[in-house]
Amino acid sequence: MSKVCSLKEAVGEFVKDGDLVYAAGFTHLIPFAVGHEIIRQGRKDLTLARATPDLIYDQMVAAGCAKKVIFSYLGNPGVGSLRMVRAAIESGELEWEEYSHFSMISRLTAGASGLPFMPMNLTAAPDLEKVNPNFKRVVDPFSGKEVMVVPPLHPDVAIVHVQRADMSGNAHIWGILGEQKEAAFAAKKVILTAEELVDEEVIRSDPNRTLIPSLIVDAVCQVPYCAHPSYTQGYYDRDNEFYLKWDEISKTKEGVQSWLQEFVFDVKDHAQYWEKLGEETHKRLKVKPKFSNPINYGEF
């Protein structure tokens, strides 16, 4: 059953003011195009959860979409500080809830598994546990020792970008998998964006590659270059120059506002955004192909 629609329609139908949103992807496959569409549609009071808020949430916070962030690493990866989110937290304008990477992912795993909590071993680091009441302790009935537990996270909507998907939402992902699967299964709704929409037969030719099943997908949108300035393994490279440039842009609110005006509000969709980046950038991010050795499933 086809769930294909435009990104505008998907965000319009599945992202509501006040929602808990999880835009998945650890450095890889970050769905910037969806963040920009959410900004264009003026969503408010969102709780934005991501292990690494990255520029996508820096931009959404700067655009006034968020009332709260949930994260485990608040930086501009490989560059430095995430200025907009950091300033909003330091000024007290933005609520936040903080984890370590593993406790963040464990919350998603509990949510994806239908469990009331996930256990993790103690880390001896006392302070995060003190400031976040979602860390609790449970006694292991076998050893009598304590473990830490965190509750499930159930986003209202998870946004997952993939390399290729069929029209019903069965998706192949390769390269860094991050927390894509856990976020999708934990969420109440899933918006899937894909570089390519492919025939169901392409997916069925390699079922072990299917990380997201149509079962849990609500909307399928074909959005080439969705992840820029992040990347899509095999399709285009990470735009490290932009990550550095953002460090400059985000030194002032004005800088960010004029960037948002030019690259989000003044473009009607991501295709126009990509076009606007220009030839030089397109060429710089191009990737030479390197294919996997195919495998034989056998005609059974």
Binding site: T27, F102, L128
Partner: protein, 255 residues
């Protein structure tokens, strides 16, 4: 401060690399820890395996990775798994030999603050936070810390303990029951410091041309000095050639 023949990062990378052992499985971040691992692989530790928190195992980066999830880490790697798997099946299970840590503050007992300066609820400076370091510091068999040496970075006690060193002393960490043996050394641009039997840092070696007094002036407490204070060997021509010609030709981290 005396005139230096080597850059801060050259000294940190070369000396950190020398602490790695052949066959180590290293949970590595980008930047200078990544340079240290690749230098070790090209010199004395050809069988060192690099694992990244993004879920990449046995990476063989063809270019200098600029982020923890750089695509060059994936192409040609021996394996890729989910973040949940890398943290549970590798790190929590005890399969990681070495973890690298850094932070805004490292204290007398190797505790690290990467979270906040000032009050947590009303931060003066909001830092990035733990990322994976809370788990790495607890569960990797050995940890190394690389950081520039100055008073601001070395207070007597961290304002927020993001990841555990030896807490109030080795006994407290051992009592906590975490599996990892904790920090083994702090490599700075001035010296190498290692925890003593109580888990308190002491200067064990000075880099070429560095005076002990300089280390004292740049440390936020009365730093102990090892009975047999050593001096680190100068970076060799070969080590510097690999760093500048092979690993960071454009000088992104070593300029």
């Amino acid at each position: 401060m005396t005139e230096k023949k080597f850059s801060k990062n050259e000294l940190m990378v070369v000396n950190a690399a020398r602490l790695l052992q052949d066959g180590d499985l290293v949970f590595v971040g980008v930047g200078i820890p990544n340079l240290a691992c690749n230098l070790a692989r090209r010199t004395h530790a050809p069988n060192l395996t690099m694992v990244y928190e993004a879920g990449v195992i046995g990476a063989q980066p063809a270019r200098l990775p600029l982020s923890i999830g750089d695509p060059t880490l994936v192409s040609g790697a021996s394996g890729v798994c989910s973040m949940f798997d890398i943290f549970s099946f590798y790190l929590q299970r005890g399969n990681v030999d070495v973890g690298f840590l850094g932070g805004a503050q490292i204290d007398r007992f190797c505790n690290i603050n990467a979270t906040v300066i000032g009050e947590y609820q009303h931060p003066k400076v909001r830092l990035p936070g733990s990322g994976g370091s809370m788990e790495i510091a607890a569960w990797a068999n050995r940890c190394y810390i690389m950081t520039p040496h100055n008073k601001r970075r070395f207070p007597e006690k961290v304002e927020f303990c993001t990841s555990a060193g030896f807490l109030s002393g080795r006994a407290e960490r051992e009592k906590s029951g975490v599996r990892g043996k904790g920090p083994q050394a702090v490599v700075t641009d001035l010296a190498i410091m290692m925890p003593d039997e109580d888990g308190e840092l002491q200067v064990t070696a000075l880099h070429p041309g560095v005076e002990l007094e300089e280390v004292r002036q740049n440390t936020g407490w009365e730093i102990k000095v090892a009975p047999a204070l050593e001096r680190t060997a100068e970076p060799t021509a070969e080590e510097l050639r690999i760093l500048h010609e092979e690993l960071d030709p454009t000088g992104i981290y070593l300029s």
